[in-house]
Symmetry: D2
Subunit: 442 residues, 4 copies
């Protein structure tokens, strides 16, 4: 069967990238013909789907250059017909205010409809077709960096994926040590914040004082889309190494009053722009409340991943904060071993972190969204900056990104709506008094 | 919780239509404000969804007139801005042929985007939200009959439902006597072709010589979208009463070489235009082949539901076929008890049926799609008209619809593609030689 | 395969008892040889099981007389060897008090081991083997009534079934309208107290103000062993027709403070003597408490199934209670339609019921277990007789069994242990003051 | 709740053996009283179970000496009453040949019934109660080695466990990389033949050219009772390191004609004497045949775990086989690195292995069951010794146990019954002609 063959092909190709080939001039001609057939939808739906499967096989067999041309062909040659759009538009404008307006609007939409999405959505019926499209978009996003003409196709695909991955379709699942090993293995692969070093490390992250949740789509049941790791504890955690210590005693979860979200990972590059992170946290908080009636505090222990990048653009900030070490020296983390030095850096470095969160903006000006992507995410969800944690992440990556600093974002149920409203409308950043003072102090 | 409240409301309202109320002038104003908030998406996604839930409650509490106004408000006041569309269109046309064409096309799409679909899709996140939208569209289709201005909203909603109900997302399930009673009860309710008279009748339809398959959507797990009933047998069944006879001995399914599709029911009025029927048959045939290696023939035993309606428009056809009884007399079926009369009507009535299938067209002309909806469906899937069954359905409904006639459509795997290609491109109707001769004979 | 063949055979035989045949003299000889092979366990376990399957087929093919002989053969010819038992016993008694006592006891057990159970347990490995044995014991119990020589086999089989059906192995399942229709159909068949008249009646019994629980064994997953029907309400229900009224409004279960067990049915005749009823109630109460925190009262609404039988043996009780109607007249229930008569009978009939429960004993004397089987069950579980319900069951069966009387047994968590201790050790019957007074009043 | 407390206790105790305490004189008195209450079954079943839970807690809290005394108390003080047994036996012997024989036999059984099993089986109703009893028997078997007076209790417990773990109750499950990690982790722990070194090693053993099956009991769903690892291949595998090589290419399972059982592990010490190994292989072979129609050969690649032990008792066998190295030298395996030496040892060592399998007997004589436990198992199942594999296992364990030798046992469907019949009745060992010659050759 075609379907079976495809899955096998998928496997063999993913396993051995070297076999992938380019697209010859003749190949382009054949492909164009295939795409036309696909767009026209000749024959029954069944044969159309078989055609889609062949097309998918072709795509998977191509190297990057070939795939780029494949996608470009779809982008440029299967758009709407400008002449038809012009006619429909003229009729539409003429009908405004009359009872024909709505019919004309609908006709206008028909004229705008492109064959691109028709071609792409036919992949949906092949086995693992949704995953195929998500991965195809990951390719597309890569090619798009150097070739803006692909943007029109990307927009259409993003729009369709947004419809398919509407949060209403997603299923929240708790992942435990009783989950399939194949799934747990994917977490090891996908964890993007604090690397999972071994199965023992992973087991520790799903122990009785931990929770791990993921969103799944019904058509990609073995692929977590995004997942969050939670620690149940009795205080606002300030150090990620302590959290991840496999030898630390297990906390009695019945005494937990605080849930710490210490790692959130998006897994599918191809779903960029399709957001479900905020809904994940909302659903997870609901689930935790149901299970642990004493839970009162919900906070993160988060990295500041773009702090070093920002500092490179704003080197003067070091001196302004009263720090004499260079960025390079700070990045190594060797200073942390010198107790005296470490003590003397506590205040200035914390202040630098607070200022970064309080005022660093995308674009570099004084307004605009926060420079830090994790900050954008949590502030956009209604959290507030609660506390800067000095030496909160003493891993090499921790020093490299943010000189060991981490931050707690607090989700205070009563303030969430106010916070996010103020953030969305005026860009106001909610902060605890402590951090605010820290940022201002000279 | 809002969500729980909604479900309860849904129940209580469905149970007691009388409580539903109209929309006052003040209510309209409030509603307009609610819809605007919804369209603008102020606040976080979470509060947006809460708003959607309140909106859904409002909708469910309205009577038909109120709902009509509710939908009309969305249709007319939340469309795209014609001025912005004009600007975007001008830029687009100007960019044709330049490297800006694709960017301009994308901008054009943005300008065309309406708030209508944004409002509607927010319902998706509430519990049973998909079902809510499907039912809302069922309302919409009713109001649309008298109010064409709703068409623009209907088109947008249909388009979104088509994306969500893409066949790739549907799950084929076999339904048996071990399926949940709540699900089986829905079949009793939804069966549209041959009424299920009792639980005993239903049990008979899932016995060992029967199969019943349905398509489900992951977000409407308790709602079959379409289902097909199959009898396993060793001949081309010619009488539906014989098939449905609860006292008939069970056929030894291991000897089956023929699968008869004797009932296909769409269940969701709100999914009109979102087709999955042809894919259902394809998937069912695959499944049957896997389980019964001897199966060689796949055919239907189908009604001709529009024959009486056609005859009323073409009364001369009776005489042309050599029939002296009036349509009224034929409809009663009392003639069938008169053996001699019944014998004398066999040829002319079968001929009339064959002619109806061969030449009755929508629109009444000589070209166009077949007049009979069931015929359109099966011919469009690549089947051929195989045999006319005289007195194939001697129920009151059978006589009323088609004077007792039924028809077998044959799905011959080797011919399906050819048949549907010819039907789609030239409107050719595939027929067995026998039926063809019957239709021509005078 | 043998296994498949067996299942089919089971079906066809159950469906058509008439085909079953007797056991010829030659058949007996063959059977004896088969049983010997089985008992000796020659060949591997695999072939032993195949032999068991053939034996099961033989059994199923026999008529009652043949089955009786089959079982008798096992009972009489496959017991222990008395001579070996004597030798082992002598050694055992001699070893008492020495260090060899325990070895000798074990040897004694070996000598007592019979081949009967070895033969029977081999059926366990065939598909549906456990059900086969349970049904075989149902046969055995029937034959046992007239043939006490089968008792030894029955004791061994009961002992093995008790081990297999240990309550630790049973699974409590809640049955709802979403349970498989095939399972719900079994409830209709098995309900022994208040007949389920239709699927609508059944649906009513699993509505939101009802609960239905059953115990299952892992090897008989489609067979409820015992089930209990519960009504959630806010008072001590006093009338079973009101409870079963399909048109009664659904009670808001969130307000429920009382759970009424109104029907408990054992389903497997072959498990007589293997008790799990008391554990069922305990488990159900735990489950209900978890779901409905306001539940405070747990009681039954029970029949008094043996009251009429007792009265026939003690006709003087009528006059003693001050009733002038004859038992026959009372049994018809026609008097209930005569309001005046019904009013005048309320007290004396209730008194008669109270006396029956307070003093009617098995054996007819003044001591011993209660005459009423339902009373034995609930008092043995620690309940108390709470209230006599005049005209509590006005069905024909209700009048026939107990002249319309029903009774509430109350499970008061704090008193259960005391009640059952007193009942077990001294036969004391726990009763409310009201019923106690009623019984004493003249 | 008691139950929850127990599970927690179980965990904490397993995790920290040091907390377990001894049994004081006063503790013994209390325990005796507890056991008596338990044996007498006072109060309802519910309170009896609560008592059992307390008893289990007591047991788990004891150290080995305390547990030994606990079990001894049950063994010695809760047996049958010898006087009652004597009376019942006299009546039984007197009734032989009369119609009272069967009643007397049943009475005799009642007299023999001990309270021991009554006490033990009450543990079954507590959560994880079956696992508790299996583990308790593992303790018992340990104590039994030095204290034969416990044998009587062990026999009763074994007999009950045999009833509960009847193969008819076991479920065969295929274990894959999609199985729960918690379950896979248990395989790593339980693997007794070829250690699973890592999760990667484990993943390799469930790859597409492998199968892993286990038997489960419904009441111990997370505990595999026995499992077998199978390699699908196209030849009789002769080297276990090659099989376990994680870097070896995956064999295309569709071409497989041979299934190699290369590891079989019993996991529950407490189920010694309760056999299900032979049934496992039978069921696994059935399952493999269904999935791989080309499979024609079923064989093991087995260790010879007792060969070194046997050789120590029969040192002369070395010289007789023409081997000049000492057993110590052979055990190191260093000789294998010397190609010339390795070549020269091939024949004599293989011969030694063949002789060991052909003639080494338990007890040391010329008759009796084979000395090798693995050989006993497979020959008892109807396999034949097919081939000796020189340097089949070059691990340290392989050299230590059998000087690197392994053996294939072949399961030839047509010969299984004959083989096991001959083995069971006359102790004949089925061997291929090659191995037979090898054993005889001087």
């Amino acid at each position: 069967m075609v379907a079976k063959g495809l899955v096998d092909k998928l496997r063999s190709i993913i396993g051995s990238g070297s076999e992938r080939v380019g697209l010859t001039a003749r190949g382009v001609e054949q492909l164009r013909a295939q795409l036309r057939e696909c767009a026209e939808g000749q024959g029954g739906e069944v044969s159309a789907r078989a055609r889609a499967a062949r097309l998918a096989e072709t795509y998977l067999g191509l190297n990057d250059e070939g795939r780029h041309r494949f996608l470009k062909l779809i982008a440029l040659e299967f758009g709407p017909d400008p002449a038809k759009v012009a006619t429909a538009h003229a009729a539409y404008q003429k009908a405004i205010g009359t009872s024909d307006q709505w019919k004309a609007e609908a006709a206008m939409r028909v004229a705008m409809r492109s064959s691109r999405i028709r071609i792409l959505t036919q992949f949906n019926a092949i086995p693992q077709g949704v995953k195929f499209l998500v991965d195809l978009r990951a390719d597309l996003l890569r090619y798009l960096e150097d070739d803006r003409e692909l943007a029109v196709l990307d927009r259409e695909l993003e729009s369709r994926l947004s419809a398919w991955f509407d949060v209403g379709f997603l299923e929240l699942q708790r992942i435990t040590w009783n989950s399939p090993a194949a799934l747990l293995e994917k977490l090891i692969e996908y964890e993007a914040v604090h690397e999972i070093r071994s199965w023992t490390d992973l087991k520790n992250r799903v122990d009785s004082d931990r929770r791990l949740y993921a969103f799944f789509h019904p058509r990609m049941p073995a692929e977590p889309l995004i997942f969050v790791e939670v620690a149940l504890t009795d205080h606002l955690a300030d150090n990620v190494q302590a959290l991840l210590d496999e030898h630390a005693p297990v906390f009695d979860h019945r005494k937990a009053d605080t849930a710490i979200f210490y790692s959130i990972s998006n897994t599918q590059v191809g779903l960029r722009g399709v957001s479900f992170g905020n809904f994940l946290l909302k659903r997870v908080i609901d689930d935790l409340k149901r299970d642990f009636s004493k839970l009162a505090n919900f906070a993160t222990l988060s990295p500041m991943p773009a702090m070093a990048a920002w500092l490179r653009k704003n080197p003067q900030a070091l001196a302004e904060a009263g720090i004499e070490l260079s960025q390079e020296e700070l990045s190594t983390g060797t200073w942390a071993a010198d107790k005296k030095l470490a003590r003397s850096l506590r205040d200035p470095l914390s202040r630098l972190g607070a200022r970064y969160l309080a005022s660093a903006k995308q674009g570099g000006g004084e307004a605009g969204p926060p420079f830090d992507p994790v900050s954008r995410f949590h502030l956009g969800n209604g959290a507030r900056v609660e506390r800067i944690n000095y030496l909160g992440d003493s891993s090499a990556k921790g020093f490299r990104q943010s000189f060991g600093l981490m931050v707690n974002y607090l989700y205070s149920p009563d303030d969430i709506e106010t916070n996010l409203e103020a953030f969305a409308s005026q860009g106001s950043i909610a902060m605890s008094a402590t951090v605010r003072r820290l940022a201002k102090r000279s």
